[in-house]
C-alpha cells in the first residue's frame, strides 16, 4: 500500500469510484479504500434508474447535468455503461397530486427539462401493459430523457479509467481509524497499512456515519433496508420506468429483458437489516399486478435487499464540514446516489482540486441541518 496520497476516498461504490476518477484525471494522487469489493454496497443493489423529475431545484439541476454527463460517459470512460433513455412515467392518482405535479413541472421546465403532463388516455402509448383503472390513474408526468444505465458497469468503468490516470484502488481493505492534528486530517489507518493525506472523501454510503465518527463528527444519516425484485427475461415490452409516489412503487424492463422493481414495505424501520421479507413479495406482487395485470403470468426469479442512506431532507450531504479541515462528505444520497453521481462528483472535484465552490455545494453541506427549516425532497420511491 502506498505511504501517502493527495486524497483518500473511502468507499468503492459508484460515487467513490467516480470521484477517484475525476480527481485522478485532474492530476491528483488518489487512493480509494473499499472494505469489500467494488459496488458491494448500495450501488450493487440499486434499481439502475436515472431520473431528472424532482421536487427540489438542486436535485433537478444535479440530475439534468448528470444526464448530460451520462450521455457521453461510455465514450469518456472507454466502456459501455449501457445507458438507455426510455423516460420516466410518474403516475398521478388524484387532484391534489396533479396540483403538486403542475407546480413541479413548471419548476423543472424553468430549469430546462423536457417534461410534460399527460392525460390518462396517453399513458398506454408509452407503457402498453398498464391498467389505468387498476392503478387509479388520472394522468402522469413524463420526461423522455430519463432512463437507465448499468450501475455495476458504470462503477467498474469509472474505477478502470481512474486507474489509467494513476489512482490506486484497494479493495478488501478496511479503514480502522483517521488521525487528525489541530482539527485537520493527517492520516488514514487501514487494516493493511497507513496512508498520509490531508483530504479524506467520505463516500461510504450507509457506513458514512461510522467513518465520520472516527473524527468525532455526527452525521444525521440513517440506514434503511430496501427490497427489490427481478423476473425472468421477456422480449422488450416497454422502455420507460413507471413510478408512483402514492404507492412508492417503481418498475422497469432492463436491457436483458427482466422486469426489475421495488416498493417499501409498510412496517419499514431503520437499521442494518439485510434479510429479504415475505411482506415485500406480497406487497410488490399485489401492487405490480394491479398496475400491469398481464404480469401475473410472469415468474419472479430473485429478490434482494440493499440500503438507502437517508438524510432528514432526503438530499445528499456534500462538501466540507466546519469542525475538521479536509474532511469532505459525499454521502446521504437517500436512494439516488447512482443517478446524481456524475455531476455530484464533478462539483466535489472542482472544490477539492481547484477550490471552486458552487451554490449547490453551499446548500447541501452538513451545516444545513443546524437550522430548524430545510427544503425536503418529497419525490422518493422504493
Amino acid at each position: 500500500m502506498k505511504k501517502k496520497a493527495d486524497v483518500v476516498v473511502i468507499g468503492g461504490g459508484v460515487n467513490g469510484c467516480a470521484i477517484t476518477y475525476n480527481l485522478a484525471k485532474k492530476g491528483m494522487d488518489v487512493a480509494l479504500i473499499e472494505k469489500n469489493y467494488l459496488s458491494s454496497g448500495a450501488t450493487g443493489c440499486c434499481g439502475a434508474g436515472i431520473r431528472q423529475q424532482w421536487s427540489t431545484k438542486e436535485n433537478v439541476e444535479l440530475a439534468i447535468k448528470s444526464v448530460k454527463i451520462f450521455e457521453k460517459l461510455s465514450n469518456e470512460l472507454g466502456q459501455d455503461i449501457e445507458l438507455r433513455q426510455g423516460g420516466y412515467l410518474i403516475i398521478i392518482h388524484n387532484k391534489k397530486d396533479m396540483e403538486q405535479a403542475k407546480e413541479n413541472v413548471k419548476m423543472q421546465k424553468s430549469l430546462g427539462l423536457n417534461v410534460d403532463i399527460l392525460q390518462s388516455n396517453k399513458l398506454l402509448d408509452i407503457v402498453p401493459i398498464l391498467d389505468i383503472n387498476g392503478m387509479k390513474a388520472i394522468g402522469a408526468t413524463f420526461c423522455p430523457t430519463d432512463g437507465h444505465a448499468n450501475p455495476f458497469k458504470t462503477t467498474f468503468a469509472y474505477a478502470k479509467a481512474a486507474k489509467s490516470f494513476g489512482a490506486s484502488i484497494y479493495t478488501h481493505t478496511k479503514v480502522t481509524g483517521i488521525q487528525t492534528e489541530n482539527n485537520s486530517i493527517k492520516e488514514v489507518i487501514t487494516d493493511n497499512g497507513k496512508i498520509k493525506t490531508n483530504i479524506v472523501v467520505n463516500a461510504a454510503g450507509v457506513w458514512s456515519n461510522q467513518i465520520a465518527g472516527m473524527v468525532g463528527i455526527n452525521l444525521p444519516n440513517k440506514p434503511y433496508r430496501k427490497e427489490i425484485m427481478a423476473t425472468e427475461r421477456y422480449k422488450p415490452i416497454f422502455d420507460s420506468m413507471v413510478i408512483s409516489f402514492r404507492d412508492g412503487i417503481y418498475f422497469s424492463q432492463q436491457k436483458e429483458g427482466q422486469i426489475v422493481g421495488g416498493i417499501p414495505i409498510p412496517e419499514e424501520i431503520s437499521g442494518y437489516y439485510t434479510m429479504p421479507t415475505i411482506s415485500f413479495l406480497k406487497h410488490m406482487s399485489k401492487t405490480l399486478t394491479s398496475y400491469a395485470p398481464c404480469l401475473k403470468h410472469v415468474n419472479l426469479l430473485r429478490h434482494w435487499t440493499g440500503f438507502y442512506d437517508v438524510t432528514p431532507d432526503a438530499r445528499p450531504i456534500l462538501g466540507k464540514v466546519e469542525k475538521i479541515n479536509g474532511f469532505i462528505q459525499c454521502n446521504g444520497f437517500s436512494g439516488h446516489g447512482f443517478m446524481l453521481c456524475p455531476m455530484v462528483t464533478k462539483i466535489l472535484t472542482d472544490y477539492i482540486a481547484d477550490n471552486k465552490s458552487t451554490q449547490i455545494l453551499e446548500k447541501l453541506n452538513l451545516e444545513r441541518f443546524k437550522g430548524k427549516k430545510f427544503d425536503k425532497e418529497v419525490y422518493v420511491v422504493g
Binding site: 399486478t289 403470468h297 415468474n299
Partner: protein, 91 residues
C-alpha cells in the same frame, strides 16, 4: 469448441477468463460483470465452475464464505401466485 459455464446467461469459460484478465478477480465482481448466478438456476450450475476457474487463474483459494447469497424465492414463482391470498385462507 465452446465450453458453456453458465447456461442461464450463455457464458463460456473463455468469457470468464477474459473478464479475469480484465481485472475482475473477485467472484462477486465477476458475477456483476457477467450476470453469472443471476438466472433461474441462481448459480447452482455455474458458480462452482466459475470459482474453480478463478482459483486456477489467480492462484488464490476461495473460501466457502465467498459463495454468493441465494435469493428468495429460490425457485421461480409467478407474480400471480405471490399476489394471491388463497394459501393464507387454507392456513
Amino acid at each position: 469448441m465452446k465450453k458453456i459455464v453458465c447456461r442461464c446467461e450463455d457464458i463460456t469459460e473463455e468469457d470468464v477468463i477474459k473478464a479475469i484478465d480484465e481485472g475482475y478477480t473477485d467472484l462477486e465482481e465477476l458475477r456483476k460483470k457477467l450476470r453469472i448466478g443471476m438466472g433461474p438456476c441462481q448459480g447452482r450450475v455455474c458458480i462452482q465452475l466459475v470459482m474453480r476457474i478463478l482459483e486456477k487463474y489467480t492462484g488464490k483459494k476461495l473460501s466457502k464464505k465467498s459463495y454468493p447469497n441465494p435469493r428468495p424465492p429460490i425457485i421461480p414463482v409467478s407474480l400471480g401466485t405471490l399476489a394471491s391470498d388463497k394459501y393464507e385462507k387454507k392456513g
